[in-house]
Symmetry: C2
């Protein structure tokens, strides 16, 4: 398979994916990322109270931020609610990856995604690991991205590069999956971000939190928080982390990191289970950002708004209904709502609308809803997708 | 049309419904309830921040609990987000009912349900009011119930009777509608409860709050709170409200009132938009009831659980995932989950299950999920329905 187009991969990382036989039909289902040296690694993991075995194993390993060399991830089985055997299986999966790549014990994170409550076919994974380790390459990213897909219809990759005069050129690259059971409150299904920009642990963690808050936290497909969510950030530049950096370098890195995370989050929304449209909801004018986000999420999670958009039906009463149930204090008479740039409600009153033109504008692949709640400085942007018969078909049949 | 079967109507009330031409196809769309005297009336109304015009008018009138003689309600148009004209229309609708029944000005509550943001065809309503007033009768309840239906597939009626030795025989009777945009946080779409049991205003209000909390607040179809929600309680026994009542009478009345409200709420869940199954979720073992309800609602509002049940698929991992995201503190290792009486998770560990028997049990029209979260005394019961292609079809086409 050809290397992903238009993505510069940060120095020091290789990847690949194989079919280990977890999923049917010889689909790619086991992937590996390897760093040529121990990478500085931080991660955010699910807030679900039933974390899966690989999450528990990875959390333990993340206590040593400089010991991580790689990530092994499978799709087709979440290894969640699998008890002590599941924990042992997650450890065995990591161990097989470490042995196959000649890495020290304890140096791999492990991630799983797929159905909850089924035993992990760990023998298939350990059997496939040496072969997988043997094919890791600078061109293996598309295979890795495909190996972590479940109901995703396409691999999800994003990148930015950073040219800092007198300091160097750096890359930020991310791979993600996740199209259902998605409303992250901490992280999202699986997202692996790589860089060769030098970072301290504290800086890496605070930047990952900021970037996640402005990206994966703005995403909802179905308001469901998975047991297996993880977003990790690995930097291969460990040795250079004390180098003197030019003024504003960290801000530029944070912008690049946030850009990668936003690209991935928007792609996840657009590829939401059964989705036919990406929906972007922008809210302004609340007192605080968190209030704007609550309003945006109330609209984004409304199945009535989502089905209306699927039908390309400008039924704005449902947008108003969703705003009104958001538990945020605002004056109804200050609310303005636009759909595809057309004002539907101006200061709490219905506006006159050219319905034919609006209906035609709703045929676009991205629907943008702008809400102004008052005169405050709070803002938010949230992405979701429409609710279609495809969502039900996928989830009724999934097992 | 024949009177509703098996329902004793409390003394003093008559009702009816006609087609005023708001909905197409000569469907019933305008209904009226009339009390032969001013009835003690209390109500709970929506917490949505964009209350519809009829809600605002009714709230104003409810300040005088003994002045209400009747209710006029239409379907096919919510009269919400309709500005000053909508307010004038709601007043005109009430006024037409008052004139047609010879009732004093200000003595009718008004309720509307249907699409948001369209002008109420008030001329059709005022024109139909004299005819409607002329056909009100003791047998008109089925017509009234049909006149307030939107996407409901059947009228919703429930009753209890109360025999209190040495005090009398009383009835509690309710009519409701509501199958979409339903997660009441205060009341539900529309529910009108009638009784001839004597009540004071304070007692009526506190009992309605208690009964609603144990019924309509336990209901969710799609976690959407309407702009038009109202549940009202009218008693025709105003004159007798100071009579000495036997010990325990109020408790028996509250039980009857709660029973009527629960019957209506369960019927609303079973008739949820597109529903093929009623889902009952019972939670026990939390510290407080409110925590049990949060867990139950997290499961009830999970589109993944709802689609799995539509598919008659015992995908219990989704139940666990929903419990785990509920933001309630509990120990995962204490959680037990049963589906149709079959234990799936026992104290946090997967139980061995006869899958064939369970799959067969999932063909039932009611699915019961029992969750024990620990050793506390908190409990809750919540009702919802499955998520089917019918929900999307109904809501994509509705306009």
């Amino acid at each position: 398979m050809s290397p992903p187009k238009n993505h510069d991969i940060p120095k020091g990382f290789i990847a690949g994916g194989v079919s280990a036989g977890i999923k049917s039909g010889r689909k790619l289902d086991l992937g590996m990322i390897l760093c040529e040296r121990p990478a500085l690694t931080v991660a955010l993991t699910t807030t679900n109270r039933f974390p899966a075995a690989p999450i528990k194993v990875s959390r333990e390993r993340l206590r040593h931020a400089f010991s991580i060399r790689g990530i092994v991830a499978n799709s087709g089985n979440a290894n969640a609610m699998t008890g002590e055997q599941g924990h042992a299986d997650a450890l065995a999966m990591a161990s097989a990856a470490e042995q196959a790549t000649g890495s020290p014990a304890g140096s791999f994170l492990v991630a799983s995604t797929g159905i909850i409550g089924r035993s992990l076919p760990v023998d298939k994974i350990t059997a496939a690991s040496p072969n997988l380790a043997g094919i890791l390459s600078a061109d293996g990213w598309d295979d890795f991205a495909r190996a972590i897909m479940t109901t995703d219809t396409r691999p999800k990759l994003a990148s930015r590069s950073l040219r800092l005069k007198g300091f160097g050129t750096f890359g930020v690259f991310g791979v993600a999956k996740g199209v259902g059971m998605i409303e992250p409150n901490m992280a999202t299904m699986l997202a692996f971000i790589l860089t060769d920009y030098p970072l301290s642990v504290g800086r890496a963690k605070s930047m990952l939190i900021k970037a996640t808050d402005a990206s994966f936290h703005c995403l909802t497909v179905d308001a469901q928080r998975s047991t297996n969510d993880m977003v990790s950030l690995m930097s291969s530049a460990t040795g250079e982390s004390k180098a003197r950096r030019p003024a504003g370098a960290d801000e530029k890195f944070l912008a690049a990191l946030t850009g990668v995370c936003r690209d991935l989050a928007r792609d996840m929304a657009a590829d939401g289970e059964g989705a036919s449209k990406l929906i972007t909801i922008r809210v302004a004018g609340t007192n605080k950002d968190i209030q704007a986000r609550k309003i945006a999420k109330a609209v984004a999670n409304s199945p009535l708004v989502k089905t209306a958009i699927f039908a390309e039906n400008p039924n704005w009463g449902r947008i108003i209904q969703a705003i009104g149930q958001s538990d945020v204090q605002f004056a109804a008479e200050n609310v303005t709502v636009k759909l595809q740039g057309t004002t539907l409600v101006r200061r709490g009153e219905q506006a006159s609308v050219n319905l034919a033109a609006l209906q035609s504008a709703m045929r676009a692949p991205e629907i943008i809803i702008d809400i102004t709640a008052g005169g405050g400085k709070g803002t938010a942007e949230v992405w979701t997708c429409d609710l279609t018969p495809g969502y039900i078909k996928i989830n009724a049949e999934y097992n």
